[in-house]
């Protein structure tokens, strides 16, 4: 078996008396799209925060590309090739869409202690940024301040920002939330195209998207992994249906 | 002859904003009162008095004084209230060719090593005011003292001044942060130390706060307070009864018994509705000083040597009585112990208790190269 990009072992996080993630163990193979689903408040966002380093973990280990990153600062993890999007949209509202992405390019290039030269006119930053915007369908909105974009557009922008950092692993927290059907379909197409380029971990309540994209699904309930397996196994599992999917089959 | 007819310009610079504004106003008022009483003339020449606020900021003061000298071409600058402003403006004023008359601040460096032929002080050398209390405490046989001042240069000078003559035991020497509001901690210390006398130098609002709180803590009836710049006519309206019986050292008091002074106090009160403090009278004297010198030079200010010599003579009747200049252009004068009292008309003032120094010159003069 190939070495996983991400291997989590026994991860735990507690807020006061509330245990939010507990004994979470899972691994993501290179190029794989691994979906994490589960009821509201199950701890999915918390898990992503722990992996990306926004929240410190109480116990357990996180191996990223073979390296222990459990105690690493978030920006260091990002430099190692760990990118993420936020559940609650997080862009730089005063910057244009293009500049948002260009900053991400700059972050990857690593040389930001440059005090001279007009950053906004650097083709080395703008070209890849423009390409990424094009990829998510925002090319014609490049000059609009991110704060003025609609909800769905911001989502797409976040994705573009993550893309250009050429991550080894991309953590996606509900990228489809708030996007319309058309955009959802487009995002699914974009993600499908990206599959294989790098590994992804997708947290999503839109089952259409999850079953269309996932190679592997883990179900998180009350902070614990209930089940981890191929999409078909998960879909049929009575426990998952009872706790999460419900009777209304919206997908397909 | 034409030149003499030209208006004489005098620039007054004083702190007119913030809490110490009341002191600056006294300086301005005192000077303007004198000019008014002299018929709008000094030494026979029509005067234009320009007033500027230094905002208690040295760099602002420098700018304003430079403007006096360069733009307004004043012959005299009168001011300021505070020592740190004096330090800042001596150079721009005197380098610019004006004569600076300080109606209040009198620092030791200008009395000694930095003495300046173009700087005349109508007040005192700062230390002297503190020495009065020390000398009196010593002479009246006090054995123990508790002394206190704000933690800055003038504060340190004041306690040094007190100790110069007081040879008893200093139970504690306390420096409080500048502009301290609450003195409970210090009052408890005083109550615990039980000194025979307390000496404080707490100018302005600090003095008001201290005196009120000292009285409220019940100490005022048991331990006498000697002070400088803590109880005077600028703070008494706020201290009122709380300050009754507090002692201070001064070169003057409103009730000093000379005809000129009586007239001055009456006129000042009539004009400005407040009892004058030393700031006002020293600034009034500054106007008299200029007047006397210009009379001697027949209004001429161009011949600076003659003008300086005339100022040096101090040929006027000071409100304080005896007054003459030492070689460092600081006064030789008498100093008194004063005490706060309530007048028949309900107003408060300091009143002379006894003379402590006679024709007293500051010691720094020996460092001054001027002869």
């Amino acid at each position: 078996m190939v070495e996983p990009v991400l291997a989590i072992d026994g991860l735990r996080k507690q807020f006061g008396g509330l245990v939010v993630t507990d004994q979470v163990t899972l691994s993501v193979a290179p190029g794989e799209l691994h979906a994490v689903i589960g009821p509201n408040g199950a701890g999915k966002t918390t898990l992503i925060n722990q992996i990306s380093g926004v929240l410190p973990s109480d116990s357990g280990t996180i191996l990223f590309a073979g390296r222990d990153i459990t105690r690493l600062a978030p920006h260091r993890r990002a430099r190692l090739g760990l990118a993420r999007t936020f559940q609650i949209t997080s862009v730089l509202p005063a910057f244009s869409a293009l500049e948002n992405v260009a900053l991400a390019v700059q972050a990857r290039s690593g040389s930001s202690f440059r005090f001279f030269g007009d950053a906004a006119a650097e083709p080395a930053l703008n070209r890849p940024a423009m390409a990424a915007l094009d990829e998510v369908g925002l090319a014609d909105r490049a000059a609009v301040p991110a704060g003025h974009l609609s909800h769905g557009e911001k989502r797409a922008l976040e994705l573009a920002m993550a893309l250009v950092t050429e991550p080894k692993l991309l953590l996606l927290d509900e990228p489809m939330a708030g996007t319309g059907r058309e955009e959802t379909a487009r995002l699914i197409a974009v993600l499908r195209r990206l599959k294989g380029r790098f590994a992804m971990m997708l947290v999503e309540h839109d089952m259409t998207a999850v079953f269309a994209l996932a190679d592997h699904i883990s179900v998180l309930i009350y902070g614990r992994i209930l089940l981890s397996g191929k999409p078909d196994e998960v879909r049929e599992d009575p426990q998952v249906v009872a706790a999460y999917l419900g009777d209304e089959i919206e997908f397909e | 002859q034409d030149k003499v007819q030209e208006k004489l310009k005098v620039g007054v610079i004083a702190t007119l904003s913030g809490p110490p504004a009341v002191l600056g106003q006294q300086i301005r008022n005192g000077f303007q009162l004198a000019v008014k009483q002299l018929g709008g003339k000094l030494g026979g020449r029509d005067v234009e008095v320009l007033v500027q606020d230094d905002e208690l900021k040295p760099d602002i003061a420098v700018g304003k004084v430079k403007a006096f000298v360069d733009r307004d071409k004043v012959d005299f600058v009168v001011g300021p209230v505070f020592s740190n402003i004096l330090q800042a403006i001596v150079k721009p004023a005197t380098d610019g060719g004006a004569i600076l008359i300080s109606p209040n601040a009198g620092t030791s460096n200008y009395a000694g090593r930095d003495c300046n032929p173009n700087l005349f002080v109508t007040s005192y050398q700062n230390d002297q005011m503190h020495e009065i209390s020390g000398k009196h405490a010593q002479d009246s046989g006090k054995k123990t003292a508790f002394i206190m001042a704000p933690n800055y240069q003038a504060g340190k000078d004041s306690l040094a001044g007190f100790k110069r003559y007081f040879k008893g035991e200093i139970l504690d020497e306390v420096y409080v942060p500048l502009n301290q509001l609450d003195y409970s901690a210090e009052l408890s210390k005083i109550a615990a130390a039980k000194p025979e006398v307390v000496f404080v130098f707490l100018p302005g609002g600090m003095g008001v706060n201290f005196v009120k709180q000292y009285r409220q803590a019940g100490l005022a009836d048991t331990i006498p307070v000697f002070s400088t710049f803590t109880v005077d006519e600028s703070t008494l309206p706020a201290q009122q009864d709380a300050a009754l019986g507090f002692f201070a050292g001064s070169n003057w008091a409103p009730n000093l018994d000379t005809p000129q002074n009586k007239a001055f106090v009456a006129a000042y009160e009539k004009e400005y509705g407040a009892v004058p403090a030393t700031y006002a009278f020293q600034s009034y004297d500054a106007a008299l000083l200029i007047d006397s010198a210009l009379k001697a030079t027949k209004g001429d200010t161009k011949d600076r040597d003659a003008l300086r010599a005339a100022l040096r003579k101090a040929d006027f009747v000071s409100l304080r009585g005896d007054f003459k200049y030492n070689t460092n252009n600081y006064p030789i004068q008498d100093f008194y112990l004063t005490k706060v009292a309530k007048r028949a008309d309900g107003k408060y003032q300091t009143e002379i208790v006894e003379k402590v120094f006679d024709d007293y010159a500051d010691p720094y003069v020996k460092d001054c190269k001027m002869k």
């Binding site: 408040g41 966002t45 769905g152 319309g180 059907r181 058309e182 309540h205 | -």
Partner: protein, 231 residues
Amino acid sequence: MLTVENLQAGYGETPVLFDVGFRIGPGEIVTLLGRNGMGKTTTIRALMGLVRPTGGNLTFDGQSLAGLPSYRIAQLGLGLVPEGRQVFATLTVRENLVATAAARFGDRWTLERVYDFFPRLAERRGHLGSQLSGGEQQMLAIGRALMTNPRLLILDEATEGLAPLIRSEIWRGLGRLKQEGQAILLVDKHLDAMTRLADRHVVLEKGHVVWCGSSTELAADQSVRQRWLQV
């Protein structure tokens, strides 16, 4: 009960809505459909007085909403579940629910009933708004609007971020509300559920109403679905 005619509005100098008109009768459920950025949220904000309309008429129960501050509009009985949840981050769950609660038009919705509806909220009643998961915040936003006992409930992407199970709960709940006679204005992306639930649909495209009709008409009219909704 709500009439919107020729509504125009925008942000700053950018016009967003050009001609929006529809009406909602008592007990009706009406949806606003359209792709991202077509002006659904802006329409709702204009209704609530959060964006000043630059033209057109808005009336609720015969009373013009023009120029009314948003709290007056809300007091007339409009209850909003805003896009993006916007729960009060520094208030606890319970405080979020009771702070703006009102019983101007009946008191069907009480704290207990909301807790019954969303047991999860009861479990988390002491948490601050900011300490909730995305879905929990969404439940809270819905509960908060219900606690004002509105006559017209406005849901802007209210099922965003909710687990499928909870989502179906909500649809079922809305169905029950409809039976109780609650009027609802709905924006969502789950077309199937909405077609089942709603009486009429309004399709927005670039700030214009381009189609309007009942669920059956919508189901039948393939061209509308393809052209404006990309289904």
